[in-house]
Amino acid sequence: MGLAVGLYGAAFGAAATASGLSVLQTCTLSLLMFTGASQFALVGVLGAGGAPVAAVASAMMLGARNTLYGLRLASPLGLRGLRRAVAAQAVIDETTAMALAAPNTAALRLAFTVTGSSLFVGWNLSTLAGALGSGLLGESAQVALDAVVPAAFLALVWPRLRHSSTDRAVAAGGALVALALTPVVPPGVQVILAAAAVGLGFGRWRR
C-alpha cells in the first residue's frame, strides 16, 4: 500500500502545481486537508477555472464521507479531548478500511494508528516530491499522471461495485449525472450534483 500511496501522492503534487498552486500551497493542502479525493477535486476545479466556492464545496462534499467513517470509528476508538482532535485528521478511506478489517478492538486501534501515521508521512513526502518534480516531467509522464487519477478513484470505488447491485446502480447514476451536467454547469459542480444519484439507491431500498 505504501508504494501506491507514494504514486498517488506524487500524482497529486504534480497535478496541483499543474493547476496553478505553488509548491507551498500544494504541501499545505496535503498537511492540513489530508484526504486525497477532496484534494484532487479541489485542484481539479481550480485548474478547470471553476469558482473558489465550487472548489471548496467539492472538497467538502467528498470530505463528508469521512464524517460517516468517523461515526463508525468513534465507538471502537473511544477517544476524547486532544487525542480525538488529533485522531480526527486521520479519519480517511484507507485508515477506516484497515481499522474495520481488524478482528478486535485492540487490533482496530493499532491498525488505525499505524495506518494513519504512516500514510500521513508518506502522503506529505510524496506530495512534496511530485510538486517539485512536476516541472521535470516530459509530456508522456504528464499523460500517464492524468490517467492515474481516474484509475485511482475507480480502484477506490471498485470493492463497493463488486459487492452490491445497489451500489452499481448508484455509481452508474452518479457517473451519468456528472457527464450530462459537465457542459451546462461550472467545473466541479457536476460532481456535487451527482450525489443526487443516491436517490436511485434510496428508491430501490424503499421498494
Binding site: M33, V56, L71, E139, P150, L156, R160, G174, V191, A194
Partner: protein, 100 residues
C-alpha cells in the same frame, strides 16, 4: 485567492472528520443515514472517475485517459493490486498518446 481556498477547504474537511468522531454513533442506527453512509461515496467517486477521465473543463473528450481507464478496469477485473492498477493505467495512457 488560492490560499483562501486551500485554508477554507482544509478547515471544512477537518471539521467534517471531527464531527464524525464527536457525534453520537446512534445516528448510524437510522436506516436512512445508514443507506447514505453506504451509497453517497459510490455516487461521488463514480462521478469523479468519469469527470477526471472524460472531461476537459466543460467539454466531454475522449483521449488517452480513456484507454488508461479501460486498462484499469481490466486490471481490477483480474484482481490486480492498487499500485499495479495505477501503473497499468498510466502506462497504457502514455503508450496510446505516443502512438496516436
Amino acid at each position: 485567492m488560492i490560499w483562501t481556498v486551500v485554508l477554507a477547504g482544509s478547515l471544512g474537511c477537518y471539521l467534517l472528520k471531527y464531527a464524525g468522531l464527536a457525534a453520537s454513533p446512534a445516528i448510524l442506527e437510522r436506516p436512512a443515514v445508514r443507506r447514505a453512509v453506504e451509497l453517497v461515496p459510490a455516487a461521488m467517486l463514480a462521478a469523479l472517475v468519469v469527470v477526471q477521465a472524460f472531461t476537459d473543463r466543460q467539454a466531454l473528450v475522449l483521449d488517452a485517459r480513456a484507454a488508461g481507464l479501460a486498462a484499469a478496469v481490466v486490471a481490477l477485473l483480474l484482481r490486480a493490486p492498487f499500485l499495479v492498477v495505477l501503473l497499468i493505467a498510466g502506462g497504457v495512457a502514455a503508450l496510446v498518446h505516443a502512438l496516436a
